[in-house]
Structure formats: C-alpha cells, structure tokens
Symmetry: C2
Subunit: 411 residues, 2 copies
C-alpha cells in the first residue's frame, strides 16, 4: 500500500471487487471478431446508491437512455452490464428495444428489478446488436461473476475496445475509524475529449453515502479528471461514468457535512484521476502521457480552457511524439484558446526545463530536453502570471499508430 497527504491509501492489488459486496466478471459472446471478452457485469449483493454522468453528444446511444432511466427510477443499482464491439448507437427504436432487453434479461437472471440494472455499450456506431449472441452471453454471465481479482479482471477485459491495457484502481479511506474502499475501472482510447469522451467508467464503493452527495461528488470529480483528458478531440455517443455505493462498509453516512468528507472526497477524486490518466496514457497510438498545468490564470474557467486547448493541439501532440521542445506551438495554442492572455508575462517549462520566461525565449540544453521528452511522461507547465487560478489536463502524443488505428478501424 502507498500513502499520500490526503489520508487515504492505495490498495496495491485492489480492484472493483475489493469494496465489500461486489462481484464482477466477463466472457466472450461473439460481438468482437477476435475471441477477446466482450460482455461483462458488476453486481452488488445489495442495492447500491447510484449516480451517473453521461455524454453531451446529441446522438446519445440507446444504453445511455436506459441507464439514465434506471438511475432516475429510484436512485439504486444492483448491477451494470456492459458490452464492447458494438456501441448500439444510431440504431433507432430497435437499438433502444435491444438495450432494454439486455437490462431485463440480466435483471431476471440475477433476480433483481430491471430498473436496478444499468447498461453500457462501446464499439462501432450504427450497427444493430447481434442479440442472439448477447442473449447467449447473458445466460452464461452469472457463472462468471465472483468477488476475486479474477472476476474484476474479466470485467476489465470485457469493456476494452482499442485499449491496450486494463484500467483499474482501488483506495481505502477511514470514515470515523471505519475502513471504506473506493474502486474504479474504465476504458477509453480513441474518440476521447473533455466533456465525456468514448470512455466508460465504473466505480464501486462500500461506503454509506447519500444519493445527492454521491451525484454531486461524481460530477465534481468528473470535471476535475475525466473532463480534463483528451486524445483526439472527438466526443463519443456512448460515454458514461456510473458509481455504485452499497453501504456495506457500515460507516456513518457520508455527506459534505461529515468530518471525514474531505478525505473521502480526495480519495474519490484520486480514483477518477488515476482512471482518467490511464485512458490518456493509453490513447490510441500513444507513446506517452502528457500533462499540461496552467498556473497564474485569471479564473478556473480560463485555466481549464487554456489547458484543454494546449493538450488538444495536434501540433503540440506531434511535437511530443517527436521529442521536440517546441514551446512555440505551446504558446500558439495558449494564444488561440479564446482566453485573455498577457502576452508579455508567460513562462513555459517542459519538465524542469525553462524555455520561455516572461515571454522571452530562454536558451536551454537541447540534449537534456530531448532526454526528458523521450520519457513516458511529459509535464508542460505554463504560468500566465495573471492571477491565482490553475488547472491540469492530460493527453497523449499524436503518432503514426493513431492514424493507422483510425484509418482502418471499421474494416
């Protein structure tokens, strides 16, 4: 276990089944052409308080509507079922009927009300689900569910598309002396952009927490983490982040007024940040994680907008791939962000290397810069010296492989 200043601990081998009362699993039902897992579920042994945030894309996929329907019915979820290989998006009435059938079939199978099941899908847009394969998969899914590491692993595999690695994290935090766990799993690699991108995220916690507090916390954490990553500027039809809190830790109910709220919030945001950064690092074709910190901005909104503009710049991303300390592209992106900038007071650092100070180029050690930029994580820090606000955004480099992956995805 690692520790940090926020009084929570990272559980080294933790997963979405580490919090009490959760099982998970996955299997291959035939939606993917390869034999990789493409159907998975998380199940809580008791109904969990639930919260969700969804894509802002006008073309919301059918499972988004079904999950929203479930969470809005009585605020509780017992399970989420997820398929990859097909997004069930732009599939009309039949797609909606299919998503509702996934929900009811799985609910019946595990003996819970249909409205206590959320549905998520990711994959190709505009094709109907092969429901014979989905039905067969759902019939076999319950036997795959277990509370071990293997169950969580199976689920994490089942939600991947072009992702190269599974993304999962678990932390432990004390609430009035009671240990509470918060865990999450996510997927996302392309079509990633602030405001919920092609990403799915699922969080489990055994904390006892009020529904409103959970929804507000999920939204705040999303704004600080998932909404600050970008891979390619495209926002998907299927993005969804769902949190379940089943209360089995037995802690005193959490709300913003609770003395341990700050610790719980920090732990919750940390889980989201780890998952979001893992998505950015695993961006399609990416060779490195890029972090952009904007400091000294006039407002949080300005800091966020500038950070997102820099992290989303194709020219900055290409320079990162080429290990090129091209600060000119960084400030060109700052300059087109639409935010007020004092063009005479900007500092730019790449790692520890100062390249621009008070908007004046600084001679730097190109060899050292090259060595730093060849690493697997690059931090860019822009200080505007205009105010006290800051923001951080995460992304990745733009590579040949991004083009290769996306030039041939559908075929």
């Amino acid at each position: 276990m690692g520790t940090n200043q926020h009084a929570f601990k990272v559980v080294a081998d933790g997963s979405i089944t580490t919090p009490k009362g959760y099982k998970a699993g996955g299997l291959h039902c035939g939606l993917k052409k390869t034999d990789r897992h493409d159907l998975g579920a998380i199940v809580s042994e008791v109904p969990a308080v639930a919260a969700g945030v969804y894509t802002l894309n006008a073309f919301q996929a059918a499972p988004i509507r079904v999950t929203r329907d479930s969470i809005e019915s009585d605020g509780l979820l017992s399970a989420v079922i997820v398929n990859s290989g097909n997004a069930n998006a732009v599939t009309g009435k039949q797609g909606e009927a299919d998503a509702y059938e996934m929900r009811s079939l799985f609910a019946e199978k595990i003996g819970v009300p249909a409205a206590h099941v959320a549905v998520a899908s990711t994959g190709v847009i505009g094709e109907l689900l092969k429901m014979d394969k989905v039905r067969d998969g759902i019939s076999r899914l319950p036997e795959k569910l277990d509370a071990s590491e293997a169950g969580a692993d199976g689920f994490c595999q089942a939600i991947l598309t072009t992702d190269l690695v599974k993304k999962s994290v678990c932390v432990a935090v004390e609430v009035k002396g009671q240990t509470v766990h918060i865990a999450g799993a996510s997927k996302g690699s392309g079509m990633i952009h602030p405001n919920m991108a092609t990403m799915l995220g699922f969080m489990t916690t055994d904390a006892n927490i009020g529904a409103d507090a959970l929804q507000q916390l999920l939204r705040r954490a999303t704004d600080l983490t998932f909404n600050m990553i970008t891979v390619d500027g495209d926002t998907s039809t299927n993005d969804m982040l769902v949190a379940m809190a089943n209360g089995l830790a037995g802690n005193e109910q959490l709300s913003p007024a609770h003395p341990d709220w700050a610790a719980f919030e920090a732990a919750f945001v940390y889980v989201c940040e780890v998952l979001a950064k893992a998505i950015a690092r695993d961006g399609e074709g990416a060779t490195k994680l890029v972090e952009v910190q904007i400091r000294g901005a006039e407002s949080d909104e300005a800091a966020r907008a500038i950070a997102k503009t820099v992290i989303g710049s194709s020219l900055v991303k290409s320079a990162m791939f080429g290990a090129d300390a091209n600060w000119g592209r960084i400030i060109a992106a700052v300059g087109r962000s639409g935010q007020q900038v004092n063009v005479d007071t900007v500092d730019v650092r790449i790692g520890d290397i100062v390249t621009l100070e008070q908007s004046r180029p600084v001679a730097f050690d190109e060899e050292a810069a090259l060595a730093y930029l060849k690493g697997d994580t690059v931090v860019v820090i822009v200080d505007l010296h205009m105010g006290g606000s800051s923001a951080t955004a995460w992304g990745c480099d733009l590579t040949y492989d991004y083009v290769r992956i996306n030039a041939a995805y559908r075929t």
Copy 2:
C-alpha cells in the same frame, strides 16, 4: 479561359502580376536551411488601396503589428515584403524592431514611404530573424521584381514553408465594359484552422474600388473561404491576408451600389475560395481535399459551426485517409458540435452514396464507396432537415505524413 455562371473568367495562366501595374519576385537570402526562396515581394507601380485581416491569436507576430500600422496610416500600400523560414513571433522588442527595419529598408530601396509597405513572415516561432541575411536579401530583391509569370512564380515560391505546391489564381471580370483582374497567392499547410490559420494570402487587383468597400469585401470573403478551412485545428500567430487594389484598370469606382458589384464580389470570393481550398488540399501530409457541406440547418452560424466540427474531427480525417465510409464518426462530430440537432432527421451522403437517411443507416455498396473515397477529392453532405441554412468547409485527411512532418519540424 474557363467561364462560369458568375460572369467572370478564370485566366488560365494568370497570376498576381496579371492585374495591371504589379511586379513580384523572390530569392534565397539564407533564412531557410535549403537553397529554396525565402524572401519575396509584390510591388504596385502606384499606391494601391489596401485592406487586411489578421490572426486572432493573442500572440500576434511582429509583422502583423507592422502591417496593421502601415494599412491604418493612410489606407494605401505600394508593396508587401514577405519572408519564410522564420515567423518573427514571440521575439519581443527586437522582433518588432526587425520587422520595422524590413519595412523601412525595402521602402527606401523601391522609393516609397515606409508606411506604404506591409510585412509578413512565416516559419519557426521564437527565434530572432537573421537580419544580416534579410538586409542582404532586401538589397538584391528589387532586381528580381518583374511583371512576368516568372516574377509571380518567384514570389509564390518565397512564401512557402511545408507547402508542397504553389497556390495562385487570377480571374477577369467586366466592370461597365472595362476588364478588371483579381489575383491572389497564398501559402499554408500546417497550423491551419478557421479564424485565420498559418496562412498568408496576398491579393492584387487593378480594380478601382473604395477602401471601405475593399475592407468589407475582404472580411466577407475571408469568412466564407479562409475561415472555413482547417488542417489541424491550430491557429497561427502570423496569419494575414492583404489585398491591394491599384485602380489601374481604369474602371468606374466599385462599391456595393455599383451595378457590377455582384459580379466583382463573386469573382473576388472565387479567388479566395480557390486559394483556401488549395491550402486545405496541400495540408501537411494530406492525400486529398475533403469538403463538408451542411444543409438544412437552423441558422448560418449553426451550419458553419457544424461544418467546422466535422471537417476538424481527427477521427473523420483518419477515416478519409483510410477510405473508410465511416458515417458514424461524421454524425458523432455533428452531435458534439454544440448546436441543436434533431437526432431523428439527419441524412449523410458521401459523394453520391447515401449512408444515413432520416437518421437510419442505409445499406450501401462498400466497393463503390471505397472507390470514391480513394479519389483525391471527397465531398461529405449532411442534411439536418431543420431549416434553410447551409455552409461549406474544407479540410484534408490525417495521415502518417502529418505526424512525420510535425514530429520533426523544428529539428
């Protein structure tokens, strides 16, 4: 000569020196590492009414400030001088002094007031101009100027950076029986995005036209053409489009009230559109021109915003490179444009191939789609069936070569 419905003619071998009274030329002074031209100028034998539009990037390069200063002094220009290989951007007081020195040295050389000379630069950001080379180049430049095709060609070469082709066009239009020529040359390949990208454009005309009419026409034409192209979403510090009208055609002065205004306007916009499309087609690494037409939108603003979102999508651009009729990415981009969309009434055509009708996928001939998408121009038409507004945007595909070019540009 070709003709079209707008009553103007394209001059087949025309160039920026076809309008009466203009000379142009270029040479290699040493700002580029290769021996390609990197300094050029256009000179009018009499002061020309002038208009300019400039980058909206907060970090405006020094030459932008100098050109604005020149045009705002008395609205006249006798010449523009342009260098490539160095953007003279983020170069502080010295950069500004250098741009003013370029202006005064060349003005003196050709015997005109300094305020009648515009300056433009394009290339690497954040490095001071090698003024010894610029001074030497300016001393030799006048002897390169001539009114022939060769002079125009030398200028067109001198303004290129990563461009692969020269971009130039000339049209002829009748104004009360008098032939007037309008010509333009442009450069731009990367850092291209709506709202004036890394592009330079220079228009010459021998028309007699009022200064206000020219400025308004330039702005309107820019909105319809240069501001509707994107290569990579990045907007440069140096963008500039300057038009000079020297009146030597001897026509009755043009203004919007003139009976031939519509024909002149159409010809002027056409010149801008040809230059803008040429920049899009020559986008860094591009293998094809992509045109996105949005129809049936609720407003011009909505149509423009949606067109720009689709043309700017990295996923759409990658699919175009892969000749993949991936309409799902097209509508995902429409859906994240931030504009109101009726998600049940959208048609998508790729060339003549209908892929989505009333938001329902249409089975189409994949072979025919592949053959069409392998061509050098792809037209995507999205009809929203919501209103009567439309817009067109131009861009290019995203390719391995874009990444290669930009991963190694500075080094």
